[in-house]
Symmetry: none
DNA sequence: AATAATATTGCAAAAAACAGCAAATTGTTA
DNA sequence: TAACAATTTGCTGTTTTTTGCAATATTATT
């Protein structure tokens, strides 16, 4: 395999899951961890991702730059965001999670829609502030450097005090059997709290993430009320989710 | 086989598979690897593909756009920020307000400095997240659309629960007699809370704002412990502040 | 503080690139 | 056709790049 190919694959993985472990990459690419490390170092120097201890994260992972240019699978995410926005009504009180797909949802909110939006994502908050008729409430707390969202006991505590009509969440990985999983334990805690704070939980995920798992579990797929991908609800890729009492869209 | 034929075959392979190994090409074309190398070099120079170590890849294949950073440098504010940063020590717990000057302060924090930073400004928080040794805690609440900071009872309440070594604040207007004033009432409430939460309050203000007032009052200038402008402390423009028990810098 | 995980560094083997050269091919001209 | 130059091609030895390994340092985690 060519080095360039590996670089592409790495960027792909990073763009898809926002963060990856060097060990996972070595596994995927079937090369030594040293090689992956060197690749990631090179990509870091090219400013195409950020190398962190043990792995790499996407730069501008939901960065506040107004340009969409470096968001992975943007078209699909916009498609998902548009589907998700169909749930919004004047006066709705919603909670929007972090991640690039949720960021797109924030972007596509119509200018004239009157909403109350809670969020714990800095980029999402900034995006929501551009909407004149959206009241934005930020759930404070310790901030995660990677995900740029509030994490920790404080955020969880605050979330426990609210109840919203819809909670729009993303996930690192989703699998019909393994449920929603994440790379990061702190993120899982917050996502659990988000789900608990939502009357209806809406999962936004591009189809590429289907059937992938990771270390920490947020919840079973049955905890999700509505699942939105860029695919048609009848798509066979979604078959495994069809008998789970989830509304597919 | 003619050179042109080989070139076409190579381009075809690249177009088809996005990548090609020189060894494979040599095999397919039944020529030495050197010849293939020369062919690929030529095609690279013609910009019909990209030659990489061990093979070639299609042009559009690796097209991840690098990031763009829009750094707008206001000299005076950076100057102020640098002066302000001299107060920071390893282990300091500080609170950084919103506004462009405070944002510059967040920017100039040294990479190796270990800090705990509270803030209620979205842009400041994002900037602080870039510092590896800074723990960032965001004071949540309703967000102000123009100031991009937390305002309202929630934010004030949270501020009342903390105590920091230094509170770095900006202000809309400052006057030796009229004190610190603002255009917006909500902002004033938050700034009052910030001052109350700070053992020492540091005002960052460019000299242009000196001797200006507005409608709502945050505090008297005597409530400020340290005042930093881009001017030298002995500058005559600061005369009016010199008998106010303020440390000028 | 102890332990595990990850980084760093230096090194050696393998692969690839490079430079020079000679044989083979092609095109031109006498 | 023969001679010749120009180009192409394959080969050789050398240099550079890549990759994996191991020893050591650094960083997280408990």
């Amino acid at each position: 395999m060519l080095k360039e190919e590996r670089h592409l694959t790495i960027l792909n993985e990073v763009a898809l899951h926002n963060r990856v472990l060097l060990s996972d990459l070595a596994d995927i690419l079937k090369v030594s961890i040293d090689t992956v490390r060197r690749d990631v170092t090179a990509l870091d120097e090219e400013n195409k991702l950020r190398k962190v201890h043990g792995g790499a994260i996407a730069l501008g992972y939901a960065s506040y730059s107004p340009r969409h240019s470096n968001i992975y699978a943007l078209d699909q995410k916009i498609q998902i965001a548009k589907k998700a926005s169909s749930f919004l009504r004047d006066g709705s009180v919603v909670l929007i999670d972090g991640g690039t797909t949720c960021l797109e949802l924030a972007r596509v909110i119509p200018e004239n829609l009157k909403l109350t939006c809670f969020t714990l994502s800095l980029p999402v908050a900034l995006e929501l502030l551009k909407k004149p008729n959206v009241e934005v409430i930020f759930i404070g707390g310790k901030l995660s450097k990677d995900a740029q969202i509030s994490i920790g006991a404080n955020a969880v505590q605050h979330l426990s005090e609210i109840q919203v009509d819809f909670g729009f969440i993303g996930t690192g990985y989703v699998d019909p059997e393994g449920g929603l999983t994440e790379f990061d334990w702190d993120i899982v805690q917050v996502k659990k709290a988000v789900i608990a704070a939502s009357k209806k939980t809406v999962l936004l995920s591009i189809s590429e993430k289907l059937n992938s798992k990771h270390r920490y579990k947020t919840c079973d797929v049955t905890a999700i009320d509505i699942m939105i991908t860029e695919l048609d609800a009848s798509d066979s890729l979604l078959n495994a989710f069809k008998n789970k009492e989830i509304h597919l869209l």
